[in-house]
Point group: C2
Chain length 390, copies 2
């Protein structure tokens, strides 16, 4: 049953190899004081930093910088950036980087004019902003998180080992615009590329493996999954294939901009376990997801058998003739495993630096969400986490 919902994604997207110049179209719409936000400096090596700074100068902007946004942006880094944006009397935040940089910019956006502690308000109490928020624009350099067209922002507190995502309710928190140039993703190391690809695929899975109906959203999800599988195989062999990387980038946006979850329940337990692993290991987000996915899905398979069968047939072209439902469903996950190994994804959390003594902590740190085929109890999470070491 397609339930009641609303949908609004006003982010303007500029896609393609010439898309950077649309900054000249967008920047004049916002105020003078811009904070440029970026990560570890790869945009300086690639020359993108210089290009963006020149466009900002040509548009007469007064620019401050928040540099060094890390892959799992910390609450300390958030506080630091909020100070910079406040002192600069920021009118606009321009994120240049991957999903973490976009997420971080949104977290700064809702925090600059917030009187309370943003970690407590947004990440522990999950409240919505009551203050003015700053407009955000993105120049995306990594396909994966979908952060360029949603209102989500993940922040990590290393002291308490919490990695928490808040998807804000108001579409005004979504980026005003995003520039998606697949060329910027071509220089990414293979490890980061495939981690991003799995992040995309898992976003779709989390929204797909839930509900028992024939929702239009699930059909769109199957199309997106087939596209990601197809293009990832090309990109895995030749990361410089612009067409494949383009399709991956475009699928990433649609995998997590709310479309495929409309009118249905969603799961998100792979992200919850993966984020807990991430808080313990600081591992690459997509790899925490790949390392915990199969133990999780094999655990819930009996509770969502029909959907796993459908997944096998519609996404992996498993021939169901003469097989029982369980066998079809398991062949689907086996096909998925084969594809994951083909891409060279990390398939266990030991490789990510997790040690068996962390198992209880990872399980306890996992936020339990409902919406999937089975609401997990603590013992089940411990069991799944233990299987993730294998």
């Amino acid at each position: 049953m397609l339930g009641n919902f609303s949908y609004c994604n006003p982010t303007k997207l500029y896609f393609g190899e010439d898309s950077l110049h649309y900054l000249d179209t967008e920047l004049p719409k916002y105020g003078q004081n811009v904070v440029l936000i970026y990560g570890g400096g790869s945009i300086k090596k690639s020359g993108l930093y210089d290009e963006v700074v020149k466009i900002l100068q040509d548009n007469g902007k007064n620019v401050a910088e928040i540099a060094g946004v890390m892959p799992n942006p910390t609450v300390a880094k958030l506080y630091e950036g909020v100070e910079i944006a406040r002192n600069h009397h920021a009118d606009f935040l321009l994120a240049v980087g991957g999903g973490s940089v976009c997420d971080y910019a949104k977290a700064v956006s809702v925090s600059v004019h917030c009187q309370e502690d943003p970690w407590e308000k947004y990440y522990l109490r999950f409240e919505e902003p009551a203050c003015e928020t700053l407009p955000v624009g993105c120049v995306l350099t990594l396909a994966g998180t979908g952060s360029e067209m949603n209102a989500g922002a993940v922040i990590t507190n290393p002291d308490t080992k919490q990695k928490i995502g808040h998807v804000f309710a108001d579409e005004k928190i979504m980026p005003k615009f995003a520039i998606l140039n697949p060329k910027y993703t071509l220089s990414l190391p293979h490890y980061q590329m495939v981690a991003g690809i799995y992040d995309i695929f898992n976003h779709i899975c989390e929204q797909y493996f839930s509900g028992e109906d024939d929702n239009t959203s699930d059909y769109i999800s199957e199309g997106l999954m087939r596209s990601v599988i197809h293009s990832s195989r090309i990109a895995n062999k030749n990361p410089q294939d612009y067409e494949a990387r383009s399709n991956i980038m475009w699928a990433a946006t649609w995998a997590l901009n709310t479309l495929v979850s409309r009118g249905k329940s969603t799961d998100w337990m792979v992200h919850m376990i993966g984020q807990s692993v991430g808080a313990y290991t600081n591992a690459t987000h997509g790899m925490t997801l790949s390392a915990v996915s199969l133990p999780y899905y094999r655990h819930i398979l009996p509770y969502g058998l029909q959907k796993f069968q459908r997944f096998a047939v519609n996404v992996w072209d498993v021939d169901p003739t003469g097989k029982d439902g369980r066998q079809v469903a398991e062949e689907g996950l086996a096909a998925m495993e084969g594809w994951m190994r083909e891409l060279g994804l990390v398939m266990n959390i030991s490789e990510l630096g997790a040690t068996p003594d962390m198992a209880e902590g990872i399980a306890s740190g996992t936020i339990v969400m409902s919406g999937g085929y089975k609401v997990l109890n603590h013992e089940e999470i411990v069991e799944i986490v233990k299987e993730c070491f294998a």
Copy 2:
């Protein structure tokens, strides 16, 4: 190859059986003088008219009406509505009806403050508005056209037998919001329901049958087509199935809100021929498309063989084992024909009131677009139109 493009669809959608009350959220955002636009009075029979008028009154709006918008809105009706909106000093246009009513509201929106003749400016010269435009909201009662989330508006000139659609470039012409309540579609006669379903399916086809790459958009299209086929079979047997009608309504929006055409070329020749048939017969839009589709697709099949094969396998589950490409492709169209006959669609233009003496006129009135697998010459269009009588 996923080409360069931009994407922005800011329309806010409220979907579900309780969605009408969101008018109370949206109406206060706009000015006092509202023009309520509707069709032939079915909303009076259903009680929806009374509900909407009450909400407008409760919101203190000053309301004028444009009633009697016909299925293929005429240029004379456009002039009439523009006068009403001008005299009312309209701030906001509220369309309550199907795609024609939404289209018409957008045409009024761009014409009220236009100094030139809107038919000549927008439909003969395809220019963009230079004047202020009025915000439009929609309460949709029929699933099909996708008009609720795009910037298109089709207007017909019966004198010159021209039915022309203009998709405006600026997203501000898109409705500000649309209320999608599947319940409103339940009272529709079977003929109108299946015409709407075929309109949806054909919108996807027009964007799918073009290009030879592995574009993400085509994968999304396949998912949408599968969803429409699945839900249409349920709705055809039981038009009161809310779930099926919901999924059809939701697929309709995504079939024509620009998503599935991003980064690729499109065809639209079925619409061009169908619209010319419509200008001669005033037949239901979806039925003009169903009546001309198969002769057209069978004509272009050899030029786009690979895509027709892919369509057969990915949309219709044709087993390609041991068959040559042509055979697979033809089996796909045969499966599509079977489904169309199952729904009871009109399969030839004679049934729509076209007579053989109109063939030349229909062909001459067909706007020839490029983008498909073959740019048609006049003789080919005449040939296709003649086959449509069979």
